[in-house]
């Protein structure tokens, strides 16, 4: 990695496109998963967990907003428009979003939501750790700012997985089947973009392959410690496509619901 740091003006055109693509991917992940996880608000398994999970969902929406703000400074629309009216026409067009399939899936039962929370948050924490060293200053600064919060997210996820892995026979079985169900989707987080080389060469981000490698290194011991069995990631058919705008059937209804109020009157002051 080079020792240079760059601000927005100093990026080359292709680097600008690469950064925007990266920002859209991670911002959309946070927006969609933040929205999904907030669906647990009020119906969480216990009051204390309901509050913690909702609070973390809100944190994710905060990250999305921060990433959209950088995009806005790079010439894209304002954060609200990017989140709620991406097409600019008031019509929902899910193809314009770059979130991975994993974030789109319905909340299911709490075992699925918790396992997704664990697998996704680890990838997010590692990504942030990597972005802290990014040559692109605005992103490095954001990553440093969110560091503490992310540490808590990881601690929360880790503790729950360990707890339920060692709970009853039922809790262990449910976590194992959630893990098996999640893994093909989770691997879709690391779908390559067309800008991988630009990001790596510019020292902006070490790339999805590197992220996946570190992620596997970190989650494997936690899964073992939780008495769960790691699926063979080499034989799994990965759920790719989200990063290129090809989504599951679940994204469009989510976006329609999420933007319903906004679309009634986009000019309304809140």
């Amino acid at each position: 990695m080079t020792s240079r740091t760059v601000n927005m003006k100093e990026l080359s055109q292709i680097e600008k496109d690469a950064v925007k693509d990266l920002l859209f991917r991670i911002a959309d992940d946070d927006l969609i998963l933040g929205h999904r996880n907030s669906e647990w608000t009020g119906i969480g398994p216990i009051l204390e967990e309901d509050i913690a999970f909702s609070s973390m969902a809100q944190d994710k929406l905060g990250y999305a907003q921060a990433y959209y703000t950088i995009l806005n400074e790079m010439g894209e629309a304002d954060p609200d428009t990017l989140a709620f009216n991406r097409s600019g026409t008031g019509e929902v067009n899910e193809k314009l979003y770059k979130c991975c399939h994993f974030t789109e899936y319905p909340i299911g039962e709490y075992d699925f939501s918790l396992m997704r929370h664990f697998l996704f948050y680890y990838s997010e924490a590692i990504r942030m750790e990597m972005l802290m060293h990014s040559t692109f200053e605005p992103l490095a600064n954001l990553a440093k700012k969110f560091r503490g919060e992310i540490r808590y997210h990881i601690m929360h996820a880790h503790t729950w997985i360990k707890q339920l892995g060692h709970g009853s026979e039922e809790s262990r079985a449910r976590m194992q089947s959630a893990l098996n169900e999640c893994m093909p989707l989770a691997l879709g987080i690391f779908e390559q973009s067309e800008y991988e080389d630009t990001l790596i060469e510019g020292g902006i981000f070490p790339g999805e392959d590197k992220l996946k490698e570190v992620w596997l290194e970190q989650i494997t011991p936690v899964i073992a410690e939780s008495a769960l069995e790691m699926p063979d990631v080499n034989t799994i058919e990965v759920s790719n496509g989200g990063r290129k705008g090809f989504h599951t059937e679940y994204l469009k209804p989510l976006l329609e619901e999420m933007t319903e109020v906004y679309r009634i009157d986009p000019e309304a002051e809140w």
Binding site: I46, L47, E48, I51, A52, S55, M56, Y152, H156, Q163
Partner: protein, 129 residues
């Protein structure tokens, strides 16, 4: 004879031992409770902020963090099982006040008058200068 429990709040309720419970609760129906203490700034006292349910210490800590640490600044957090806190039955009786012992109250010392007198003196001397 009333029911003795590790949880002081149960003991304080004075539930008769013989009383039959109307519904059988399974052992894992409710988690135990924890008491939570937070510190507002480094060096300050940890203050009791409330209680919560958790199955063990580790879970109590992570649940308490969002429960009591998300609204205002917190620099450190403690959790401890409610059952670890010691109290006495009817402790309000123990602490009943005897009005004849006013001299024991800090407010009973007649020193504030002298302090205020001194302060006024210093102030008036300063204004003369």
């Amino acid at each position: 004879m009333s029911l003795k429990s590790l949880d002081p709040r149960v003991t304080r309720l004075g539930i008769p031992e013989e009383q039959e419970l109307k519904t059988e609760k399974s052992p894992l129906d409710q988690w135990q409770t924890y008491e939570v203490f937070t510190q507002a700034k480094t060096g300050a006292h940890h203050t009791h902020v409330g209680s919560l349910h958790a199955p063990n210490d580790e879970m109590a800590y992570i649940l308490a963090k969002e429960q009591f640490g998300r609204r205002s600044k917190v620099t450190s957090l403690w959790v401890a099982k409610t059952a670890f806190f010691v109290t006495a039955e009817n402790d309000d009786e123990l602490f009943a006040r005897n009005d004849e012992k006013m001299y024991r109250e800090a407010g009973g010392f007649k020193v504030m008058d002298r302090i205020n007198e001194f302060k006024a003196k210093v102030k008036s001397e300063k204004s003369k200068e």
